[in-house]
């Protein structure tokens, strides 16, 4: 029952806006945890805080026992905590394979490894992972030419290439053709079970998150209003109110 991510009383303000107010949550290693809440409730802000995109105003965030709230983004990523973005971020002018190759962790990462060649074995791993998300056929195509949904898949496989310990997924099924969503769910479950990667997932699609998550946290107006198992959350009046807009 080890906690891989411990968010403790985190506050984040943007000017006068309280984007995150006294957020505390724990993610158990190896689990899939959901983060839900209406638009503007502070979910992506929390992701940004955890990933290091901006500093937090109060509180602490610990990943695998290390304090990460003071670290810049690359440092957090190197510890094994990666995140995907709502608007997909990929390297548009490079083809899928290159996107994958550059996403792998280099064996040595110092000044002298700048000019090392990328090992040929990585090509195989890249192709396997691309196959895992169903992009093997598109592997030589420029990432920028992929459809939005395909780019989302590419982003996921790029993250997997990096062998993270934990993934923050920001709306992984948003914008995806409904018929393909089951495929995504299956893959995410596989990523969690077979690769052992802990997942913290922001989702608006209730069906998806209820299927995926073992535990769900709900945010509204920057605050944590509920947490529990999917069944508990489904019937939680506060959650229902938040989504239906009752003030």
């Amino acid at each position: 029952m080890t906690s891989i991510l411990a968010v403790d009383q985190v506050y984040k303000y943007f000017g006068g806006v309280k984007a995150n107010e006294n957020i505390s949550l724990n993610v158990e290693q190896g689990s899939i945890v959901g983060l839900i809440g209406p638009n503007g409730s502070g979910k992506t802000t929390l992701f940004n805080s955890i990933a290091g995109t901006h500093p937090i105003d109060k509180g602490s965030i610990q990943f695998s026992g290390k304090e990460v709230s003071t670290l810049p983004v690359p440092a957090v990523a190197k510890l094994g905590l990666l995140r995907t973005f709502q608007q997909t971020r990929i390297y548009g002018k490079l083809n899928c394979i290159d996107n994958m190759l550059i996403s792998a962790k280099p064996p040595k990462d110092d000044l002298f490894s700048v000019f090392t060649k990328i090992p040929l074995e990585l090509n195989e791993k890249a192709e396997t992972l691309l196959g895992f998300v169903g992009l093997y056929q598109k592997r030589k195509i420029r990432a920028g030419d992929l459809s939005f949904g395909q780019q989302k898949l590419l982003e996921l496989s790029m993250a997997l290439m990096n062998e993270p310990k934990m993934l923050l997924l920001d709306e992984p099924t948003a914008g995806i053709n409904p018929t393909l969503i089951n495929g995504i769910i299956d893959r995410l479950i596989k990523v969690n079970k077979d690769f052992g990667i802990t997942l913290l997932v922001i989702e608006h699609n209730m069906r998806v998150i209820m299927q995926l998550a073992q535990q769900i946290f709900c945010l509204a107006h920057g605050q944590l209003i509920a947490n529990g198992t999917p069944d508990e959350i489904k019937n939680d009046q506060r959650v229902i109110d938040a989504y239906l807009g009752a003030q």
Partner: protein, 350 residues
């Protein structure tokens, strides 16, 4: 693979005999080689990394001054040389000249590289417009400052060491500098060709395509940005050192920190040829040079106006350049696959 070796071999062979095939154009071809170096090194930032630099001329000018200053300063008091007519009182012996040249040339690569390493952390932290205008400011400021330093001739500039007497004529001089230029160009090209096959190349491209993503994936982008600038500074600096020697007279704003000429050329050539590719800048430099030499007289009087118009036209209508045009037409040659169905679907969606 064999085709490639033959191809490169032919180029080297041609390069070696060119001074004898076109004896009247030795200086011209040397300058073209310098332009290729300028274009290739600009592309490391501008094309591969997506950072529009208008300040690489800083390293060119630095290299120019450093090379000549050491060539002179090793043997004679520099201040007296740069004083009016001073260069007439001091004469290099052949040994002095070549010793000075070697030291000067090496330093004209190393010192700009060190400067790049020093200021890189600050300057390369800027992006987009801010980086562009900041580097523009650096390049111009350098020229203005050099114009105030008495030691290197201030606004009047200084002469670079003349060819020593007794070892051949101007032809030999031209040939000497030609071969040095050619060697430097080949070294620059081969180094970059190799560098682009390593992590370095892919990281630069990743930074160009989405720097935030690269950081989010754990890449230490600053390390690569600075390395790239150091590499560019090194080769551009030496190109400057060579140019100073070839031209014979170094003026701060017109020759050394020549933002309005070489500074602009290096941007135009890389884009014209195809930024972000290895051969693009080379082709662009050659095409530009031929255009410039061939049609300069055509445009007599308003050449630079035509140059300005050319930049606008190329940037707006032809931003992918010659190589980009080829890429669109023959993507398979570049190892790319275009999925026609996807392409059409995308177009409809948009």
């Amino acid at each position: 693979m064999n085709n490639k070796i033959i191809f490169y071999g032919l180029i080297v062979a041609f390069g070696l005999v060119a001074p004898f095939l076109f004896p009247a154009f030795k200086l011209q071809i040397s300058i073209m080689l310098i332009l290729i170096i300028l274009s290739l090194t600009w592309d490391v930032q501008g094309g591969q990394m997506g950072y529009n630099t208008f300040g690489n001329i800083l390293f060119f000018g630095l290299g120019m001054y450093i090379c000549s200053s050491f060539q002179i300063g090793l043997f004679f008091p520099l201040a007296e040389w740069t004083a009016s007519g001073g260069e007439k009182t001091f004469v290099h012996t052949p040994t002095q000249f070549f010793q000075g040249f070697v030291v000067g040339l090496v330093l004209s690569g190393i010192i700009p590289a060190l400067v790049a390493a020093l200021i890189g952390y600050g300057i390369l932290g800027l992006r987009g417009h801010y980086f562009a205008i900041c580097t523009l400011g650096l390049g111009i400021a350098a020229g203005e400052l050099a114009g105030g330093i008495e030691l290197v001739g201030a606004g009047q500039g200084m002469t670079s060491p003349p060819w020593p007497k007794g070892i051949g004529d101007t032809e030999l001089r031209s040939e000497f500098f030609y071969y040095i230029c050619f060697t430097l160009m080949v070294c620059t090209f081969l180094f970059l060709r190799w560098a682009y096959t390593t992590r370095f190349g892919l990281v630069l491209n990743a930074i160009r395509d989405n720097e935030d993503k690269a950081e989010a994936m754990g890449i230490n982008t600053m390390r690569y940005k600075i390395t790239g600038w150091v590499v560019s500074a090194f080769f551009v600096g030496m190109a400057g050192g060579l140019m100073g020697n070839m031209i014979g007279y170094i003026e701060p704003v017109e020759t050394a920190f020549a933002g309005r000429t070489f500074g602009v050329f290096m941007v135009l050539m890389a884009i014209l040829g195809g930024k972000g590719t290895l051969w693009g800048p080379v082709i662009g430099a050659i095409a530009f040079h031929i255009f410039k030499e061939g049609f300069w007289t055509f445009f007599l009087g308003w050449q630079y106006v035509a140059l300005g118009a050319l930049i606008v036209i190329v940037v707006i209508f032809f931003p992918e350049g010659i190589m980009g045009w080829f890429r669109e037409k023959y993507p398979e040659r570049f190892g790319e696959e275009i999925d026609e169905e996807d392409r059409k679907a995308e177009v409809e969606l948009k």
